[in-house]
């Protein structure tokens, strides 16, 4: 275990001034020294209680918001250095914290927020005082997100919100939500949607955790019953929230397509195969090597998009190919892990496997949402077909 709190280090004023590999080394060394064990290689998403200490260390170091400008408390990193930071966190096995305030709300407020909104929300988002969840999907608006129905009626200086949001990741831990709600009905359903900030302690909000197939509660449904929200919590212009939400795509999608998660599943597969003595089985080796090369080749494609970021070029819609390949590969890896575990694949939770302890089913379960969330793979294929391949709609 690392000591309870890292010392303050004299940081160079400008991270961008360091040569890239020096920067990487500095990041790596610090993470190795200060990352608490409890956030490494978690079975699922980290809850806030697990994240708090690590968050606080990063915050005190000034590293909690790599992409934010330095004048707002961020590191002011260029996209490629943000990727280096992510890579080093992945390398060390750091789980994902409830970071949507950093990755989503911050950039949106910086681009579309008012001065008042920034000074109210940015500091407490950095410190972890405000933990954000995303209120986009609804029971009848999943793949077809633009058909959302949760309404926000403007009454004087307040919006009155009614409806419900679903698949809200870790809403039970969140203090705030960024919400898409319908403020009017336009000719196109993408019109008339507004982007609002909501304090989760406002009366009329109910959070119901949703138990998932693995028995965990990562997602919630959030109900709004005449919830009053100050007009000042509107971000951007009324009825124009759709374009705000869309503006976050691109760089985000590169993260979804990273080989990190399939690589974790692959490590589990190797653990199982080693314990079961399968590396001497030529038939297993053939299957294993095929997946291994699919994973390495995903990395090759990923690196190419990273290079694009490195050169400062914007990412196109083609980046979705990483998400499709990576999430489906992770499922294929998890299936081979089940076969490799033989009888042990029937057992829940940690299983004693020739000396080591492995949760054989964890990759199976955790590979399922990837093909559904973040724009299902069906939607991604639709997008690639029409926008990249130019097939008729």
């Amino acid at each position: 275990m690392s000591p309870p709190s890292p010392p303050t280090i004299d940081a160079p004023a400008d991270w961008e001034a360091l040569p890239l590999e020096d920067f990487r080394l500095r990041v790596r060394t610090w993470i190795e020294a200060w990352c608490p064990d409890e956030v490494r290689y978690p079975a699922g998403r980290l809850r806030w209680a697990q994240s708090r200490e690590w968050w606080s260390r990063l915050y005190r170091r000034g590293w909690i918001a790599p992409g934010w400008p330095r004048e707002h408390g961020g590191m002011g990193l260029s996209p490629i250095r943000q990727i280096v930071m992510l890579e080093e966190l992945e390398r060390h096995g750091c789980g994902r914290m409830p970071d949507q305030g950093i990755t989503q709300v911050g950039p949106i407020l910086l681009r579309y927020g008012t001065e008042a909104q920034r000074s109210e929300y940015l500091p407490k988002t950095l410190s972890g005082e405000a933990i954000w969840c995303q209120g986009y999907s609804e029971p009848n608006a999943g793949s077809d997100l633009a058909s959302l129905q949760t309404s926000a009626r403007l009454q004087g200086d307040r919006f009155v919100v009614d409806g419900s949001k679903i698949w809200t990741t870790l809403a039970m831990d969140a203090t705030h939500m960024y919400l898409l709600a319908r403020t009017s009905r336009g000719a196109r359903k993408q019109q008339g949607i507004s982007f609002l900030l909501v304090d989760m302690s406002t009366p009329g909000i109910t959070v119901r955790p949703i138990r998932n197939i693995a028995g965990d509660e990562e997602f919630c449904q959030v109900f709004f019953d005449s919830v009053e929200i100050p007009r000042g919590n509107l971000v951007g212009r009324i009825d124009e929230g759709w374009s705000i939400a869309k503006s976050l795509l691109g760089f985000e999608r590169l993260g979804i397509g990273s080989p990190r998660r399939p690589r974790q599943a692959f490590a589990r597969l190797e653990q199982v195969a080693r314990a079961r003595g399968l590396f001497g089985d030529p038939a297993f080796l053939d299957r294993y090597t095929e997946l291994r090369m699919d994973l390495e080749d995903l990395s090759a494609a990923y690196e190419e998009f990273v290079d694009q970021v490195r050169r400062g070029e914007p990412l196109g819609a083609d980046v979705s190919l990483l998400k499709i390949w990576g999430t489906e590969l992770m499922q294929r890896i998890s299936e081979l892990a089940l076969l490799a575990a033989e009888d042990h694949a029937a057992l829940a939770g940690e299983v004693a496997l020739e000396g080591s302890s492995v949760n054989v089913l964890a990759p199976f379960y955790s590979s399922r949402p990837g093909t559904i969330y973040g724009g299902s793979n069906e939607i991604q294929r639709n997008i690639l077909a029409t926008t990249v391949l130019g097939l008729p709609r």
Binding site: A341, E342, D343, I372
Partner: protein
């Protein structure tokens, strides 16, 4: 296989299937499965007595032993329907273990156990595995030595005993005097430790640890070739039963998925109107149909040639196929349901988890394809 003396087998099968449908429709086994999951024993002992009153544990027990003397068709019909309804009680497990008794030589222990099974008073489980991987009854993991006066002292361990938690006793494969033997080991026998392992489906498997456990002479059920034959009869029955369960649950998962595709709308259309989803649904349907055909062909063949050879080969074939189909169907059922398919509230998850367990029990599809390749003659002359 047992042959009924009085009632026409097809008739018997149809009767049993109807009564199963009635029972399952009125007793909400899905709710019971949810209530009991992750709580030992994972099922409802009261409900088991009701199943016994319907004759289910007696299906394959000869009439001479107080059973119904029906064939595998009946078992397949009942456990298939049970799996579709998420019935949590260990029916396949008990039917299989009872087959070991049916195939054992006549003895007072055998007679007594069979009548208690028929009455629903005894839940029995089969303990034939020493470790994960292919089942090998030549492997010597559990050993019995003489304890004087015909009694036996047993040491060792059996693993992956499905239905083993909460059972009243076990049919245990062991070795004595360099011979394979089957013992009856009551659950309350001193020296027996039952370790519970939670399954993915909320039920439990047991490891049995025998620490100088002493068994009276009459607990030896069979030895030598008859013991092997009885054990394989039980294992094959378990495989065919698990294949039937897989077919039942995958049909149900498919039906739920098709309903969802017909009714869920996105982009102002039912999502089942999207061609890419239609084609994937068709592929699931084909998998299901192929699985059903293999099972039907096996049952037909066994009616004409009830040999152990055909049964063993067919058991691997149908288990491999049903596991393959159920794997594809349950995984795609999640995807085609979207986020809702990943929630615990959605019935699909029950079938996904049960398919994980049945897929692994007594050998994966891969293992059974390999076994089939060893057992079956070449296809082309």
């Amino acid at each position: 296989m047992t042959e009924p003396s009085g009632v026409d087998p097809d008739e018997g099968c149809a009767l049993v299937a109807r009564s199963a449908a009635d029972y399952l429709a009125r007793s909400d086994p899905l709710a019971r499965a949810r209530r009991w999951r992750d709580r030992t024993p994972g099922y409802d002992r009261e409900a088991w007595r009701e199943l016994a009153s319907l004759g289910w544990p007696a299906l394959l027990i000869p009439e001479a032993d107080g059973g119904l003397g029906l064939g595998l068709d009946s078992m397949v019909a009942v456990v298939r329907a049970g799996a579709a309804a998420s019935l949590p009680e260990p029916l396949t497990e008990v039917l299989a273990a009872a087959q070991a008794l049916v195939h054992a030589p006549t003895s007072a222990t055998r007679t007594g156990l069979l009548s208690r099974i028929v009455a629903g008073e005894c839940i029995v489980a089969l303990a034939v595995q020493d470790e994960a991987g292919p089942i090998d009854l030549q492997r010597i993991g559990t050993v019995a030595v003489s304890a004087g006066q015909g009694a036996w002292r047993v040491t060792g361990r059996k693993r992956f005993v499905a239905g083993g938690v909460g059972a009243d006793g076990y049919v245990v494969h062991a070795h004595a005097d360099h011979q394979p033997v089957l013992f009856w080991v009551p659950a309350d026998c001193p020296g027996l430790e039952v370790l519970a392992h939670a399954q993915a489906d909320g039920r439990f498997m047991a490891d049995l640890v025998f620490a100088d456990l002493v068994l009276p002479p009459d607990h030896l059920l069979a030895s030598g070739e008859p013991a092997l034959a009885a054990a394989w009869a039980a294992i094959d029955t378990a495989l065919i039963g698990s294949a039937a369960e897989l077919l039942g649950l995958s049909q149900r998962a498919l039906d739920l998925t098709l309903d969802y595709l017909r009714t869920r709308t996105q982009f102002d259309r039912p999502i089942g109107a999207f061609q890419a989803l239609q084609h994937r649904a068709v592929d699931l349907y084909i998998h299901q149909r192929i699985g059903e055909s293999v099972m039907r062909q096996l049952l037909d063949a066994l009616r004409h040639d009830p040999s152990a050879e055909l049964r063993t080969r067919g058991a691997s074939r149908v288990k491999a196929r049903a596991a393959r189909s159920a794997r594809q169907i349950t995984r795609e059922a999640i995807q085609l349901h979207g986020a809702i398919g990943f929630t615990d509230d959605c019935e699909v998850g029950m079938h996904v988890r049960r398919a994980l367990v049945l897929g692994a029990w007594l050998g994966s599809e891969l293992e059974h394809r390999r076994r089939y390749a060893r057992l079956a003659p070449p296809i082309v002359d």
